[in-house]
Symmetry: C2
Subunit: 427 residues, 2 copies
Amino acid sequence: MKKTANKPAKPRNALYAQSGGVSAVINASAAGVIETARKYPRQIGKVYAGRHGIVGALEEDLIDTSRESRATIRGLRYTPAGAFGSARYKLKGIDKNRAEYERLIEVFKAHDIGYFFYNGGNDSMDTAHKLSQIGESLGYPITCVGVPKTVDNDLPFTDCCPGFGSVAKYVAISTLEASLDVASMARTSTKVFVMEVMGRHAGWIAAAGGLAGRNASEPPHIILFPEIPFEQEKFLARVKQCVTDFGYCVIVVSEGTATADGKFLADAGTLDAFGHTQLGGVGPVIANMVKQAHGYKYHWAVADYLQRAARHIASKVDVEQAYAMGKAAVELAVQGRNSVMPTVVRKSSRPYKWTVGSVPLAKVANVEKKMPRDYITADGFGITSKCRLYLSPLIGGGDPPPYKDGLPAYVRIKGVSVKKKLPPFKA
Amino acid sequence: MKKTANKPAKPRNALYAQSGGVSAVINASAAGVIETARKYPRQIGKVYAGRHGIVGALEEDLIDTSRESRATIRGLRYTPAGAFGSARYKLKGIDKNRAEYERLIEVFKAHDIGYFFYNGGNDSMDTAHKLSQIGESLGYPITCVGVPKTVDNDLPFTDCCPGFGSVAKYVAISTLEASLDVASMARTSTKVFVMEVMGRHAGWIAAAGGLAGRNASEPPHIILFPEIPFEQEKFLARVKQCVTDFGYCVIVVSEGTATADGKFLADAGTLDAFGHTQLGGVGPVIANMVKQAHGYKYHWAVADYLQRAARHIASKVDVEQAYAMGKAAVELAVQGRNSVMPTVVRKSSRPYKWTVGSVPLAKVANVEKKMPRDYITADGFGITSKCRLYLSPLIGGGDPPPYKDGLPAYVRIKGVSVKKKLPPFKA
């Protein structure tokens, strides 16, 4: 039988890696990647996952996802955090650290990896973009496709970002519930409640707290955004007004709230691996400020990881979009699209309709999408109806995990290692 | 037609009041009281609720629950916090402040209140007991029945206390989810995660965090209980061992954790209305301690009111018991039982079976039930299988509220006031 020119190329393996802070739905994207890749056996061989993301890729510490059962991969859809391990590890520029990029290409060659799916935020899209370039220049072309992930919702070109909808839902519900608590007690006890949420430079998560109230008289009464320079006197006056008018005051504060000179209210003084300031503790700072000015009894909460890991209350829309982004990434790759990232495209808000688009990684890399000014009320303390219209669909619906003995029955991977073929390399 | 001696007495009104810190299910007890009272029209007339609990009772600020729709009262079953308002307001001893007790009896007389249902913890049971005594001595006998409520689970004579099961479920799930997050990131980022939970003198809530792991290698690796004096060196050595063995360390710390001399690790120095020290912030204290000793990157969370208001993830068992306690309180009252509190009686743990008992208020008043020593492991850092067997059924099942636009559709009362008949009184 004659071999034709149309005979499909031999399938090549794929590498999937999770990057940066994890979310309630990043594993749903992983499930989308793995389940979809299994549908293209002529193009994609095995899907390997970097153990702890890019660190595993550099150290040739790869997990063979083909050794995981279908039930486990399906279960990733309802399991929070990074099942394969994530990493805060930013590759430097190619000129500064060419060795790391070359090592990655070596690992790709050794394991016949033709596709790289990088599931992360701005930094990661930059890395994936650079990898696609250097692969080309080293004569080992690799199809690099980003899978968007960030609870901060600060990726550009996509209407929203998987991970955000669930943290938004968590923050909105927690604000609603805590506000009912404070309202119950305010007559004789706590007058001011401060809830600190994530969001280093963008106030999307803090804004979601605003969904708890339907109008200005309902809590939260004050939201502090990173986009709005903090003015202490104006803030303290508003707190007093709220306690006078409503008997209590609920404040949602973004960890990235800063004064006009750019100084974070809660600067712990330490830097993370990306050189960013490690934040935390603006909640108590704000609460103490109120106590000293007005003497009100206060309470404060810092949800920290709880907010981004809260798969039990994930948004159905978010889970679906996370899965769809993983699925679309694979579909783009097998269509030969390189150095792109799938996006969520909003068709309408009411009723909510969305579809999948894509954008070149070069455009996304290292760009942060902040809150538009017209999403924040003129006084800087609340969200506008335009913002509400944007946010509300993203927290729609529930997709609860299965439970056993009163706890979510999250899955754990076996994590079987791929046999190493290269000399060691220390990331 | 001849009037018989058996003609039922004229029905008398009831007063229901919420007291102390609220919970995810205290309104379910309210629903139990109100719905059950409506089934005994020959004994009970209207159910009034104190606006902000005993403060409303003193100020004759009463809410007429008969003006609330059946749907609203039913909705209280799935609405967290205190719908009628609660209060941190402790009546002093009768000898010290007879005027307040006499005022209450005056209000009761003015509104023909024959039944008093007080929904609270140890302090409130003491108040209800004293009221039943003074009513007697003033010639206005009043049937006082307690309805147990405390997230701290520190009421004696009842197997558990409504409010606790739901906070336990929240803490167990949050610990599980945050631990998955930390495990994902530990290779290059956070090594130590500290979660602060409520529990001033009793470690029940902290213990519930232990349900997140099935054995000593699974997080949480360390639980700090108020019952176990904190030893810094022993603690820091254990943290280091965990990071060495597992790559990370998850710590659940009770707000009431103290050293052997009784000093709270996080003593804010302020007192609440009951003269108790206001706590908060032991999480960051512990995290900083670890950072200084070992240099590990840390994160910490303080769930604060979120944990006790989290009706979205309430335990079904807890909701049922909260309702049952309200219902039983009314049944005890119409049976003529005075100065008692219904209790949860455990029949078996596996399968979980419970029934309703009762105990005289005199026995309950001001007694705190702490964790038995054999519920805590020998090293003081974990829970035993005996503790697990006790806790596990209490977080069983879910009872999610209805949702609208992605948020729980909690009910709000109209809160129509009862017309005042007495001169003002300032609580």
